[in-house]
Each structure stands twice: as structure tokens, then as C-alpha cells.
């Protein structure tokens, strides 16, 4: 079974919201706001990344329902990685 990095899991969740633009979006958030390469993303970074993603999504869309759902999905991932 293939081992997925945390970055891959964030992209998989994002794919449901941003489709083919998901990978590019996540890479930009990690590089620009966390100053890291995507593969260096750790569970500790997730909370900060989610905050940045929430902010970025508000600039992209006015649909708060979709944004909340996306953030909830990411928070679920963060909880599962911390436990």
C-alpha cells in the first residue's frame, strides 16, 4: 500500500473543492505562508496552514457553507494526525 504524505492528504481533501487547481493552491499556501517545501509539512504546521487556507478561500469565494465544509475536513485530518 502506498504511503501518503501529509501534503498528499491535504491535496486530496482540497481536490474536492478546487479540482485540478488543488495541488497548485496547496503548494502556494505551504511555500508562501509556512516557508516550507510541501513534503516538509508536519502535523504541527497543519493548524497554521488551515488558518491561511481559510483566509485564502474567503478571497476566492463568498460561499461560507463550502468554505466551512472544507475547513472542517481539514480539521478532521489535523485531529487524526495529532491523535
Amino acid at each position: 500500500m502506498a504511503i501518503h504524505s501529509l501534503y498528499d492528504e491535504v491535496v486530496t481533501i482540497t481536490y474536492d473543492y478546487l479540482g485540478p487547481a488543488a495541488d497548485r493552491f496547496v503548494v502556494r499556501q505551504i511555500r508562501n505562508h509556512l516557508g516550507k517545501d510541501p513534503e516538509q509539512l508536519t502535523p504541527k504546521d497543519l493548524r497554521r496552514l488551515i488558518d491561511w487556507i481559510r483566509l485564502a478561500m474567503r478571497l476566492i469565494s463568498n460561499d461560507s457553507h463550502i468554505i466551512d465544509r472544507y475547513v472542517t475536513d481539514l480539521e478532521r485530518l489535523a485531529r487524526s494526525r495529532q491523535s
Binding site: 481536490y15 474536492d16 473543492y17 478546487l18 479540482g19 485540478p20 487547481a21 488543488a22 495541488d23 497548485r24 493552491f25 502556494r28 485564502a56 478571497l59 476566492i60 469565494s61 460561499d63 463550502i66
Partner: protein
């Protein structure tokens, strides 16, 4: 990249100057003055009422193209980069083809006015130019739409494929019937034999309509089925704009081949039809620009 893409507006400026000079500098055509019972000043004012909306529509076309081009350059290297670049290339051919074909027609008509023997050649060249640029544009748009379809891993449904075939057949049959009915007029309107018109005009037009309508279906399908709720919403507007451009362009091609019917319309009828089509085309190009702007937002944050 932005500055480089702005170069298209210089081209727009050059084409506008050429077209305005070709339209307004030569003395008014006496045949047109007599046909519509107009004075020279009246014809000049009429020229302006067609010129200004045409220039606005061309500007909208260049604007729509530029937006899509910048987006395709931003995502180049990504899976959806190449299909989007092909769509942008198709829009560029349309944006350039619209003024270039008008300039060519005006220049040829001007030569034909002074050299009557050149009139048939002028008509034939203009007719083929009107076929060639949409053919090139729709090939690019069709390629882009197909590649997007492959990207979403969903093919057109059996129903959708059948619908495209049915519409193209219906359009083609009516088109060929119109040509056949005006068989005695063909030498006047096309300056070519019936067989040549069928082989070198009707077949390419039907192929263009097939490419265009297939692209509309592929784009519609992509915008409905591609993954990503927000990406899909943004693509919906872009696909609607591109689809509208294709459909309006097909209507324009259809009408341009029905010169006998158009000649029967009154001047006001002709103008109303022209304004509606120019406005619809301009709006469609602006919709493309707005759809692209939404997609670009995803890439900017």
C-alpha cells in the same frame, strides 16, 4: 507576462486604424447610395453606427482572449494548462480573424469598385477567408475542449454525441437546400459553380459546425463534471461564454452564406440583426473574461 500579453492591444489598435481608414476614406459607393436612397453624409453616419459597435466587439474579443491567455500561462505545466492554452489560441484566431476578414473584405471590395473585372475574385477570396479563420479557431477550441474532457476522465454521453450529430445534419441539410434553391443565383452570389460551392464551402462549413458544437458539448460536460466544487463553478461561467461565442459565430457563418435572403431585408431590419449579433458576441467574450477572472483568483491567493 502581463506586459507581453498587452501587446495584443497594439495589434487591435493597428487593425482598428486600418479598418477605419478603409471604411471612411474612400468616396461612398454610388450603388449603395442608390440602393438605400441615402446621401453621402447619411451613408457616412450609417458607416459609423456599424463601425463603432464592431470596434467595441473586437475589443471585447481581444479582452476575452487576453484574460484566458494570461490564465493559461499562469497554469502552464499543469494538467489543465495545455487544454486552456489551446482554448486561448482558438480565441486569438477568432479575435484576429474578425477584424482581419473585415479588412480583407473592405480592401477587396474597394479594388473591385474600381476594377469591375476583379469583383468575382474579390467575392471568392472573401468567402474563403470567412471559412478559413473559424476553421482554424474551432480546431484549436475543439482540441482544448477534448483535452479537458480527457482530463475529467468522462466521455460525452451517447445522447450528447447523437444530439451534436443531429444538429449538424439539420444545419447542413437546410444549408445545402438553401444553396440548391438559389441555384440560378449561385454565379451571382458565389461566382463559383454549384459543385465547387458544395465541395469547398458547404463541407468545410458543416465540419466547422460539427467541431464547434462538439466543443460546446465537451465544455458543458467538463464544467458540470470536473472535480472541485469551486473550480467547477468558475469553469461554468467560462464554458458558458466560450459556448456562446461558438454558437453565435455559427449563426453569423450561417447568415453570411444566406446573402440572397439578407439582401431581401430592409435596411433597418439588417441593422437590428447586425446590432443584436454584435452585442451578443461582445457579451459572450466579456463573459469569458469574467469566468477566467474567477479562475485566476484561485491561482492568485
Amino acid at each position: 507576462m502581463q506586459a507581453q500579453s498587452k501587446k495584443v492591444y497594439y495589434w487591435y489598435g493597428v487593425l482598428v486604424v486600418i479598418y477605419v481608414l478603409l471604411t471612411l476614406l474612400p468616396a461612398p459607393d454610388k450603388i449603395t447610395l442608390a440602393k438605400y436612397h441615402l446621401s453621402s453624409t447619411g451613408l457616412r453616419l450609417l458607416d459609423l453606427t456599424i463601425l463603432i459597435p464592431s470596434l467595441a466587439m473586437w475589443l471585447a474579443a481581444f479582452y476575452g482572449y487576453r484574460r484566458l491567455h494570461v490564465y493559461s500561462q499562469t497554469i502552464r505545466g499543469a494538467k489543465d494548462g495545455k487544454p486552456t492554452a489551446n482554448l486561448a489560441a482558438g480565441l486569438l484566431v477568432l479575435a484576429l480573424g474578425l477584424p482581419l476578414s473585415s479588412i480583407l473584405s473592405s480592401a477587396l471590395a474597394l479594388i473591385a469598385r474600381n476594377h469591375t473585372g476583379f469583383a468575382p475574385a474579390a467575392t471568392i477570396i472573401s468567402n474563403y477567408a470567412a471559412v478559413l479563420y473559424p476553421l482554424a479557431a474551432f480546431i484549436y477550441i475543439g482540441m482544448g475542449a477534448r483535452q479537458l474532457g480527457e482530463l475529467s476522465e468522462r466521455r460525452l454521453s451517447y445522447m450528447q454525441a447523437n444530439l451534436v450529430a443531429l444538429v449538424v445534419i439539420a444545419l447542413g441539410v437546410v444549408f445545402c437546400d438553401l444553396i440548391a434553391r438559389s441555384h440560378h443565383d449561385i454565379s451571382i452570389s458565389y461566382h463559383m459553380s454549384y459543385t465547387l460551392v458544395m465541395l469547398t464551402m458547404a463541407i468545410p462549413y458543416m465540419y466547422i459546425w460539427f467541431l464547434g458544437l462538439l466543443a460546446v458539448m465537451e465544455l458543458y460536460s467538463y464544467s458540470k463534471r470536473v472535480n472541485g466544487i469551486l473550480y467547477r463553478k468558475s469553469w461554468g461561467l467560462l464554458a458558458f461564454g466560450l459556448g456562446s461565442i461558438i454558437v453565435i459565430d455559427i449563426v453569423l457563418q450561417y447568415l453570411s452564406t444566406m446573402s440572397t435572403w439578407l439582401n431581401g431585408l430592409s435596411l433597418s431590419g439588417l441593422l437590428v440583426l447586425l446590432y443584436i449579433l454584435l452585442l451578443a458576441l461582445a457579451v459572450a467574450f466579456i463573459v469569458v473574461a469574467f469566468g477566467t477572472k474567477r479562475l485566476m483568483k484561485i491561482e492568485e491567493v
